[in-house]
Amino acid sequence: MIDSVCSLCVSSLVISVEGLPRPTIIIPEQHILIEGDDEDNPYVAKVIRLFGDGEFGEQMKAVVQWFVRVSEVPLSKLKLLGREPHPQEIFHYQGRICDDEVNVESILRPVQVTVACVHPKVLGHKMCTNITTDVKSIKFKNIDSWMSGHHLLTMLLLFQQIMPGTPRTPHQATPSIPCRSLPTRQPANILEEARARLHVSSVPESLPCREQEFQDIYSFVESKIIDGTGGCMYISGVPGTGKTATVHEVMRCLQHAADVDEIPTFHFIEINGMKMTDPHQAYVQILQNLTGQKATPDHAAALLDKRFNNPAPRKQTTVLLVDELDLLWTRKQNVMYNLFDWPTQRHARLVVLTIANTMDLPERIMINRVASRLGLTRMSFQPYSFKQLQQIIMSRLNKVKAFEEDALQLVSRKVAALSGDARRCLDICRRATEICEHSTTNPSATGLVGMSHVMEALNEMFSSAYITAIKCASMQEQLFLRAVIAEFRRLGLEEATFQQVFVQHQALCRLEGLQPISVSEGLAVCQRLGACRLLLLEPSRLGVLQRVRLNVSQDDVLYALKAD
């Protein structure tokens, strides 16, 4: 900090610096430190000339040439340098943003800048210096006591214009969600513990009821890794049957085996068709996972092609898992073609495991050459039976006694009859534990989850609310539904215009002894029923001419209306 400015003349400036006994002189061609945002790293500049500004020349200013520190340079530009910069290195700045004039009050102190030895280098401009051990010796050399307290910097060289004036795009953006202030609570009672275990995300180490599939996939991949060849496998099954989980388990075991040197090391990559915005992004993601490079889809495809087609020594086997394969379909099917073609190259060492939902996907949507490259190594995951679902829940709970036997059986049977989806089963059980927890009047008495709770959960999650919605509709809405059915009966069709239905509606109003409603009101009633999708309507700009269809069966409507 400058304590006082003693005098000014054009040729030099005398300042007194805190901590130094005698006043310091600043002259042109001298390097100085200028106050900046960071106290530990003030800006570096070289004085070009000094002058007085303002009416009477009272405001002293200096025209400077700025330098930038290594820390101020964005990473991508640093890479252009082609070598590792020294932490104390500074660079000449030729940008047009910063003002070249500064007030002398912001000058901290003079500084010494040295040029280390010179070495011609790439940037096409002047020479860059190469830092050698000279720097270290220069840097820490003891200086004259007069100038003790001065920093020593090495100066290096020129460089293109650095940052443009627009807001800097975040180059170093790391994806992250902020952290909690306190860690989460642990489960407090049995039901909470059961709920935590029954959550779909707590996948166990080894999946029950999928041992055979695990073995098949394991042996397939292991043989390919050991032989150093490539191959394709197609895994299919309805959602919720454990395909992705089983493959993950296989890869975990193989990784463990590779860690203890039983099999050669390999590289596991996973991509998901639904997590991409475009099928061609598959190339980008595979390349990024393999080599960390970012590229456009076309470039990435070319790079991957080169990589898989050319032999390379000491190449690891790559195991690629492609989830939701059907979303990688394009009209020319070139993404799928490449994915299945690369494993057939001799030097590729690529094993591709694909997962989809339909068993006949290759025959249905793939052209012949793609389907033939996919090959006949197929595996189909069957939906779970009720015994399997029961076993899955029991193994998850693992001696946490929270459910009654028949309650579990009921859930398993119901879900197995419908879809055989393990996720559904687990969610229903979780909901049943919640109902049990909140239904007990005495919170400390945690009974087991019984049939009644499970039935309630099943009703909630399996029911369709149409009948309840019709029962809870207003009087006019119910009359309108009746009118719709009456008009359908009269016409013998499943469709009528609003005008026709309205006539019936007015008649019904008179029958019920209600005041007849206006057309606008009738249209509003009709719109409300259409918004709930109890009725299917044409666009409302057609007004009274719009056609009306029922979205619920007539019997259901009559049943719902009768029960009053």
């Binding site: 975040p170 909690r180 992004q281 029962k471 206006s518 007004g543």
Partner: protein, 434 residues
């Protein structure tokens, strides 16, 4: 949710010059007083417990709130969120993202909005950097890095959920539900929709990852609860500044609700629709007549407001038409009667009108063709008639087929109240055949 709010100043009849008071319809009073409706209380509790577990224990969940328009779904969610955020732990930890299907019409826009609301690192100020693919990869990476015990849970609220199901591949929904079922950052996905068949819109993979929890807000209350709601909505709360005024007001509301004609009007509204939005509109119209000189609601106000709400919109429009246009409408009505709803064109209508002029009319002038054409076009602009699809460009305008968008009852009702309607026109309208 807007609070219906009325502010007016007046001097209290007691105290000296104390400044006025507000009449507010409390959302809070409404929400917890839609009582006797056990379903809503259960729904509140279910949703609150779910969100509390997400915020405090880091459990991922997904739920859909389904109910007809104006039933109070968004209001329920706001109340639950407000209660939840009163707990300090939840308030400090929970991150919220609010999306609306009508605003974020595309997954690309939705992703930018999510990134902006979560204020991830690729956001500078209000601008999100990166292409669609980069944004998606960035967000998924961010969510994947988190875990249950150490990341802040994120609440995603998707209004008009059914519109998100129309996006390409349902990418956003798949990814949100997938995160809610994986061991990643805890998320709670709450969808709000009015369609009862919303699950049929979801693709099988997305449907499998959704937890099938649905909270149905069906207005299963009866008329007495409805009346109770009206009374509570209109009453002033206990903590009102001017106790005397509040007491007077509340007792006047009490007498209002016991009035027979008011009850009938409310019954009419209840029969038409049970939702609270239309009730609020009705009560708002009543309240707008309250003034300094008339600081209470009279039954007549409510009846007027009811009449305003229930009147026919198109019939009102007919009052603004000229006599010529009205005659054209009546001619169209007759054509519809004779030809049973077949479309007509200007020439046919004009001929019908000329028949009337020849036989029955004393007062109407025989307008020229261009004038009649202009009247016809005006009717088309008002959307009282509509061209039959497809024949717009090819035929001449006089011969373009049209349909009438009015019902008989609307025409007759309009005619009754039409100011200074000539008698012969009225008689022509009421006669059976032209």
């Amino acid at each position: 949710m807007p609070q219906l709010h009325f502010r007016f100043r007046f001097r209290c009849s007691r105290g000296t010059g104390c400044v006025g008071s507000c009449v507010r319809i409390h959302e809070k009073a409404a929400s917890w007083c839609i009582v006797g409706v056990v379903v809503t209380l259960c729904a509140c509790r279910h949703l609150l417990e779910l969100l509390r577990r997400s915020a405090i224990q880091g459990e991922s969940n997904s739920v859909l709130i389904v109910g007809p328009r104006g039933a109070g779904k968004t209001m329920l969610l706001q109340c639950v969120l407000r209660d939840l955020l009163q707990e300090k732990e939840a308030q400090k930890n929970l991150l919220q993202v609010h999306l609306n299907g009508l605003l974020q019409t595309d997954d690309r826009i939705a992703l930018k909005e999510i990134t902006r609301q979560l204020n991830l690192e690729n956001v500078v100020g209000d601008k999100v950097f990166g292409s669609f693919a980069e944004n998606l990869a960035f967000l998924l990476e961010a969510l994947k890095k988190g875990d249950r015990s150490s990341s802040r849970p994120v609440l995603f609220v998707l209004d008009e959920f059914d519109l998100f199901a129309h996006h390409k591949n349902q990418t956003l929904l798949y990814n949100l539900f997938d995160v809610s079922q994986s061991a990643q950052t805890p998320v709670a996905v709450v969808g709000v929709t009015c369609r009862l068949d919303v699950l049929e819109l979801l693709e099988k993979r997305v449907k499998s990852r959704f937890s099938h929890r649905q909270i149905h807000l069906l207005s299963s209350f009866g008329f007495s609860e409805y009346l109770q709601t009206v009374r509570t909505q209109l009453s002033l709360p206990d903590d009102f500044t001017d106790r005397g005024f509040a007491q007077d007001w509340n007792s006047s509301i009490q007498t209002l609700c016991e009035d027979k004609s008011v009850e009938e009007a409310l019954q009419r509204h209840f029969n038409s629709s049970k939702d609270f939005r239309s009730l609020h509109m009705l009560l708002m119209l009543c309240l707008s007549r309250v003034s300094v000189s008339k600081p209470s609601i009279k039954p007549a106000d409510l009846l007027d407001a009811s009449r305003l709400c229930l009147c026919d919109a198109k019939a009102n429009m007919l009052h603004g038409l000229s006599i010529l246009e009205l005659c054209l409408i009546i001619a169209m009505k007759h054509l519809n009667d004779v030809y049973e709803g077949e479309p007509f064109n200007l020439q046919m209508v004009h001929n019908e009108f000329k028949k009337f002029l020849q036989r029955k009319s004393n007062s109407m002038y025989n307008f020229e063709q261009p004038v009649v054409m202009k009247a016809f076009e005006h009717l088309q602009q008002l959307e009282l008639i509509r061209p039959v699809d497809g024949s717009s460009a090819k035929t001449q305008r006089e011969f373009q087929l049209m349909r009438l968008m009015l019902d008989h009852s609307q025409i007759m009702e309009a005619l009754q109240k039409y100011p200074q309607c000539p008698t012969d026109v009225k008689q022509w309208a009421m006669s059976a055949f032209g």
